[in-house]
């Protein structure tokens, strides 16, 4: 968390200067267009951008914004308010608490699972990992490697096996060992692959049947570089497994991850975690105000 704050403080300062000197010296059509562009550039998408700008314009017209500093504050506030208000914490108040990770290929599901497990260990909890990605070459080995680094058990079957079966066995193992949290990896799949989405629904049913009330968290991994397709992805996964939240990964790059806002706002899903790098500890809680501020740093200066 400290890492994020430090970074944010820096960008905030730079941001204020930019806003004040370069951008918000005039209140005209151009200004609104520039705000729009900043949001579009951050991958917030046309719908959410229009919604934010309209809310801001309303306040400006009502006389609530007098100068550029106020406008900056309002822009951040309005943007932060566009995120879904639901609890952004991960529910681990069960034993075992079951977390299901889903997402399209290459978004960082397996890596995120490694990081969550590491953080749970730090909290003194005992996680168990379940290798539900039986499809991708070496996906099981990758999870086993994370298990080794973190120091926790990984339940696995052979590659090409039935994901439902390994999930069932994994949950049985979690109960037998008295693990605190069971984290289930699944194969990356495009939301357009009907059969694979059906398979995911089945995995969810297996979990529900084995442990009533589970999964307690169904998290969708979205890569921060994802554009507007992220919205469609989230909609389809939400339908298939009743998502409880979203993890935005690879936030350590130059992508703004504005798709998080579109997904959260338009599908009413809380963003729960932010992945920021390759290291085990590079996982942070989500903070709407900080994220909103980050969306605008330097991108405005780059136009």
């Amino acid at each position: 968390m400290a890492q994020l704050r430090e970074g944010l403080a820096k960008s905030r300062k730079a941001l204020q200067q930019q806003f004040a000197s370069v951008l918000f010296d005039r209140f005209d059509e151009d200004l609104w267009e520039r705000i729009e562009e900043a949001l579009i550039y951050a991958d917030v998408g046309v719908d959410s951008t229009v919604s934010i700008v309209e809310a801001l314009e309303e306040q400006a017209n009502a006389g609530a914004i007098k100068d550029s500093a106020e406008l900056l504050a309002k822009l951040r506030e309005v943007t932060a308010n566009h995120f879904c208000k639901a609890d952004t914490r991960i529910d681990i108040a069960h034993r075992p608490a079951v977390i299901l990770m889903v997402g399209v290929n290459g978004t960082g599901k397996t890596t995120t699972i490694g990081k969550i497990a590491w953080h749970l260990k730090e909290l003194g909890k005992e996680p168990i990992l379940i290798a539900g990605d039986t499809f991708r070459a070496a996906a099981i080995e990758q999870l086993v490697e994370w298990g080794r680094r973190v120091g926790c058990e990984v339940v696995r079957h052979e590659r090409g096996g039935d994901p439902g079966a390994v999930v069932y066995d994994g949950l049985a193992a979690a109960e037998a060992r008295g693990a605190d949290v069971a984290i289930i990896d699944t194969a990356g799949r495009l939301h357009t692959q009907v059969n694979l989405m059906k398979e995911l629904e089945k995995v969810r049913r297996v979990i529900e049947k084995r442990i009533p009330g589970a999964p307690h968290e169904s998290l969708l991994c979205i890569d921060a570089t994802t554009g507007q397709n992220g919205l469609i992805q989230a909609r389809m996964f939400k339908e298939a497994v009743e998502l409880t939240g979203v993890v935005i990964t690879k936030m350590d790059g130059t992508a703004k991850g504005g798709i998080a806002l579109a997904v959260s706002h338009e599908l009413d899903l809380p963003i729960k975690l932010i992945g920021t790098g390759e290291r085990l500890e590079s996982l942070q809680p989500f903070d709407a105000v900080g994220f909103a501020a980050m969306l605008f740093d330097e991108s405005l200066g780059r136009r």
Partner: protein, 445 residues
């Protein structure tokens, strides 16, 4: 989504404007707004969008509307031409070295699909008669080497690796001489996925490039990438100087606007498109397909072009003669079905018709097999029966049904439909045009 189909929106934007001959200022402005939104929704970088829209506007202003097109179609034509020319005017071919092995180096962000693309490219080269080999240069991601070896095993392509403790620069260097010894003519080097701002790893790529001097460097880019694609491409361009792009995950429903952004800012062509989990879903990039995909609309113009190419003019004149005489026979019917089918599947043709909202098409399952049945039934008729369907009695019906492997019920349906078509054709001959042109082909279901 803001809109389902750009083509619908443009129809609305040009509503009330009925072939006035020229596109006016106001029309162009409204249409340009729709194009701008469409491109932004497709994740084309906003700066690229701005420039592109300006260009289209300049060309569209005052341009003559072709007689056969509506103003909306005219505008789409201009947009489409600009888009295709921007994306398509460079070669997609790989450079092959006269002295093998030809070295291809793959670079890109984590999760873009590099390792899978390595396997697919190897498979693609195998199909071209090459003998490729792979080098496992990703020593960082857990099990990346395993993944490449598994792919190599599936394809029967050898994989060179030195485990995950060696230096990727050495691995690449040794890999080249290994491939020479083994007599492999193309060598594909997998590298670790990295963020374009990761100095250390970018430096490593530069060293690999300097050491093995690859003949092709390909940037692997996820089709779902958003606005950041420009930063990624520029950084890789500046540091590693790639030659072309492989656009991955094209089997999803992302519009792939990143392809346009990358082309616009780096000038590098997209060479390959990769779709799906199977190793053979990999092909040369078709700019026209992606152009229409980015716009999120059926390609109106290619329908027009296809129709022009396919329907033979002489046949059309003969048909007209028959129409005038209202002697439309089963032979003509069969001929028409075949002409139409030459253009592609019926469902894909429907997608190209402007004015049919894509939402309506979604629920509509056109079964192309139904046309097979109709063709079979007509083929089972004697020439006499085809010319005079009225003579088809009970025993003829049984024979035709048995001969075509269908049943009497289906044949009866066809005969009823044919009578309707004949009636419609007579109306057509007398100058009354039916509203729905697709009634011409009967209702196959």
């Amino acid at each position: 989504m803001v809109f389902d189909s750009l083509s619908d929106k443009l129809q609305v934007a040009f509503d009330g404007l009925r072939r006035q001959g020229k596109l006016t200022d106001k029309d162009v402005e409204r249409a340009a707004r729709e194009i701008r939104l469409a491109l932004l929704e497709a994740d084309v970088n906003f700066k690229v969008v701005k420039e592109f829209v300006e260009k289209v506007k300049t060309r569209a202003l005052g341009s003559e509307v072709l007689e056969s097109l509506t103003p909306a179609q005219q505008f789409i034509k201009i947009v489409n031409e600009e888009l295709t020319s921007l994306m398509g005017s460079a070669s997609t071919k790989l450079t092959f070295s006269p002295r093998p092995p030809t070295v291809i180096m793959m670079v890109g962000l984590q999760g873009s699909g590099k390792t899978t693309a390595c396997g697919k490219l190897a498979n693609f080269l195998l199909a071209q008669g090459k003998s490729p080999a792979l080098v496992a240069g990703d020593v960082y991601r857990p099990a990346a080497i395993e993944q490449l070896k598994t792919l190599g095993g599936q394809l029967g392509v050898p994989v060179y690796d030195e485990g995950d403790q060696a230096d990727p620069v050495d691995i690449a260097k040794h890999g080249v001489s290994w491939a020479q010894d083994k007599g492999r003519d193309v060598l594909i080097i997998d590298t670790a996925g990295r963020l374009h701002i990761d100095e250390k790893l970018m430096e490593e790529l530069v060293r690999i490039r300097q050491t093995v001097k690859p003949h092709n460097i390909l940037l692997v880019l996820d089709a779902m990438t958003g606005q950041d694609a420009v930063n990624v491409a520029l950084q890789f361009q500046e540091r590693v100087r790639f030659d072309g792009v492989i656009l991955t995950k094209m089997d999803g429903d992302a519009r792939g606007g990143a392809a346009l952004s990358v082309r616009a800012v780096t000038g590098k062509p997209v060479k390959f498109a990769s779709a799906g989990e199977k190793l053979d879903s990999f092909e040369y990039f078709h700019p026209d397909r992606v152009a229409s995909r980015i716009l999120g609309m059926g390609d109106v113009l290619s329908l027009i072009e296809k129709a022009e190419r396919t329907i033979d003019e002489k046949k059309a004149r003969e048909m007209e003669q028959r129409l005038r005489k209202a002697t439309f026979t089963f032979d003509d019917f069969l001929d028409q079905i075949q002409q139409v089918r030459k253009m592609g599947s019926i469902s894909s043709l429907l997608g190209m018709i402007p004015g049919i909202p894509s939402a309506k098409l979604k629920g509509l399952q056109v079964d192309d097999k139904a046309f097979d049945k109709i063709q079979a039934m007509i083929s089972s008729m004697t020439p006499e029966e085809r010319r005079h369907p009225d003579i088809i009695n009970g025993s003829r019906r049984r024979r035709i049904a048995a001969g075509s492997g269908t049943d009497i019920h289906a044949l009866n349906q066809l005969l009823t439909q044919f009578k309707q078509v004949q009636k419609m054709m007579r109306q057509l001959g007398s100058g009354r045009v039916p509203k729905n042109p697709f009634q011409m082909f009967g209702n196959p279901s």
